[in-house]
């Protein structure tokens, strides 16, 4: 499986470490009234879809950047790769 790194071009997936669902970028607000339930969801529940899945990969044996990869879990086809930093900023984190 090749991951088309936005900065480095196509790299073998074995250079990366897999973290999981990219929803992990959106850490809940610890001051919310239902923070406990939100953190239990965040820590332990997953959508786990069969089909398109946005997921976090870490380029451990490369430039050590985090990527958000959109991959089909039925075919392993990768349709988009972005720097997780860009995604997180776009979603309003790390202002």
């Amino acid at each position: 499986m090749l991951i088309n790194h936005p900065l480095l071009g196509p790299r073998d997936a074995s250079e990366f470490v897999y973290k999981g669902d990219a929803a992990l970028i959106n850490r809940p607000d610890p001051d919310a009234p239902d923070a406990l339930e939100q953190f239990i969801d965040y820590g332990y529940l997953r959508d786990n879809p069969a089909g398109a899945h946005r997921e976090l990969w870490f380029h451990e044996q490369g430039d050590r950047s985090w990527l958000v990869v959109t991959r089909n879990t039925l075919t392993h086809e990768i349709t988009s790769v972005e720097l997780a930093r860009d995604v997180a900023r776009r979603e309003g984190r790390s202002k």
């Binding site: 073998d12 897999y18 669902d21 820590g43 332990y44 997953r46 786990n48 069969a50 997921e55």
Partner: protein, 416 residues
């Protein structure tokens, strides 16, 4: 029809014309008391024990393809009960005891072979950990035996005990562990359940749950609506897909695990050997093929096929510890989809929806658990109380901090 040695001889002399189908091809009725979703090992075992041990009737098993076509037909056939934690060990020991009586119970030759399993030790710290594990096993009535390097060499002279990175310093053996003919487990349970009146309905995919006022009253299927007083999901690998129809999100990711078999060889490998440090485990099938596997590929997958880096990694592990396999050719490899749970342990529990029960999250340890999983799930379905050996397998253990994390990896499913 009862199978026996006499019956085999009689059929051999009369041209094998007297064998009938092992189970009926049932058509779905409009409603049942119990509907089990998933005709794999666990689902069929659940139906069998519901009928036999808990004297229940009007039971159906729904299977979207053919029975035994999922993970019960895709594993490396190993049985063992060498767990550490209190939430697990009594359950797996219960399972091993059921394996020991399985063939007589089912009147079916499942080729249960207690050829022993050996976990290799490479460091002093690992020896300490395995001594502790062995003690935990014995406290729960299982057998465990700490072997020295000399004892291992005497039994397995082909092992590379002087590997530079992972020299073999001993091993923890469980002599009652071994292998079972995996397909025969599904077929044996199917036949025995069918004889007790269970309807096994193949090519019947569940497409939704009918839920009214918080209670599940049946399932929508590709062959129409089927009503049920109790519905038991039992589809490890596809649990998230199925339960999403009931609006549930699970503490599970689906991952692919590959397994391999070599060409047939003369008997070379007695028992099962696990080389945990090198991510490799191996046994030899009765046909002569070396059956082996390693780690999961490590990313969410429903593809039932894996990628090449793991093939290389598994074969490297094999070469490091059994250099003799280097000239054996790989015959086949395949992938199965695992429910990888957040703590590496399964779930057998009620859901928040009345009449809807769940069994899944088996990670890559589901095969050995088949009899106990079926028994415990049948117990839960019939009595609404968890079986005494399965009380820890609850949904709410994550919220309550009562994880059963054998490897201590935390909520990262691909590390379990």
């Amino acid at each position: 029809m009862r199978y026996s040695g006499f019956k085999v001889i009689k059929e051999a002399l009369t041209g094998h014309r007297g064998w009938g189908p092992a189970w009926r091809d049932a058509a779905p009725q409009s409603s049942y008391d119990y509907v089990i979703i998933g005709g794999g090992g666990h689902g069929l075992a659940t139906a069998y024990y519901l009928a036999k041990e808990f004297k229940q009737a009007r039971i159906a098993v729904l299977e979207k393809g053919w029975i035994g076509g999922g993970n019960v037909g895709r594993n490396t056939t190993i049985i063992r009960s060498n767990y550490l934690l209190d939430g697990n060990e009594p359950f797996y020991e219960f399972s091993l005891k059921l394996w020991e009586g399985l063939e007589q119970d089912l009147n079916y030759n499942a080729m249960v072979s207690q050829r022993g399993i050996l976990n290799l030790i490479h460091t002093d710290a690992q020896r300490d950990a395995f001594i502790r594990r062995g003690n935990a096993m014995m406290l729960n009535g299982a057998d465990a035996d700490l072997l020295t390097t000399a004892q291992i060499v005497a039994r397995y002279p082909f092992l590379n005990v002087n590997d530079a990175r992972f020299p073999i310093k001993g091993g923890l053996a469980q002599h009652r562990g071994g292998t079972v003919r995996h397909d025969a487990v599904a077929w044996g349970y199917a036949r025995a359940a069918d004889q007790r009146g269970v309807d096994i309905i193949q090519n019947c995919e569940v497409t939704g749950f009918r839920i009214e006022n918080g209670t599940c009253i049946g399932v929508e299927t590709s062959r129409g609506f089927i009503g049920a007083k109790k519905v038991g999901a039992c589809v490890a690998g596809s649990s998230s897909r199925l339960m999403s129809h009931a609006g549930m999100r699970l503490p599970i990711e689906s991952h692919v695990l590959q397994a391999f078999v070599s060409e047939g060889l003369k008997p070379v490998l007695p028992g099962v050997i696990t080389f945990g440090a090198g991510h490799f485990y191996c046994s030899q099938s009765d046909k002569g093929g070396l059956v082996f596997g390693g780690d999961i590929d490590g990313y969410n997958s429903y593809a039932q096929r894996g990628n090449l880096p793991v093939v290389e990694d598994v074969c490297e592990g094999g070469m490091a510890i059994f250099p003799m396999i280097g000239r054996a050719r790989l015959l086949r490899m395949w992938g199965g989809i695992m429910d990888m749970s957040m703590d590496g342990s399964p779930i057998i529990d009620r859901t928040h929806i009345g009449g809807l029960y769940f069994n899944g999250g088996w990670c890559y340890g589901g095969f050995k658990a088949t009899p106990a999983s079926g028994f415990a799930y049948a117990h839960l379905l019939a009595t609404d109380k968890p079986h005494p050996t399965a009380t820890a397998y609850r949904f709410d253990r994550f919220a309550k901090g009562l994880m059963i994390d054998e490897k201590g990896m935390g909520n990262q499913p691909n590390l379990h």
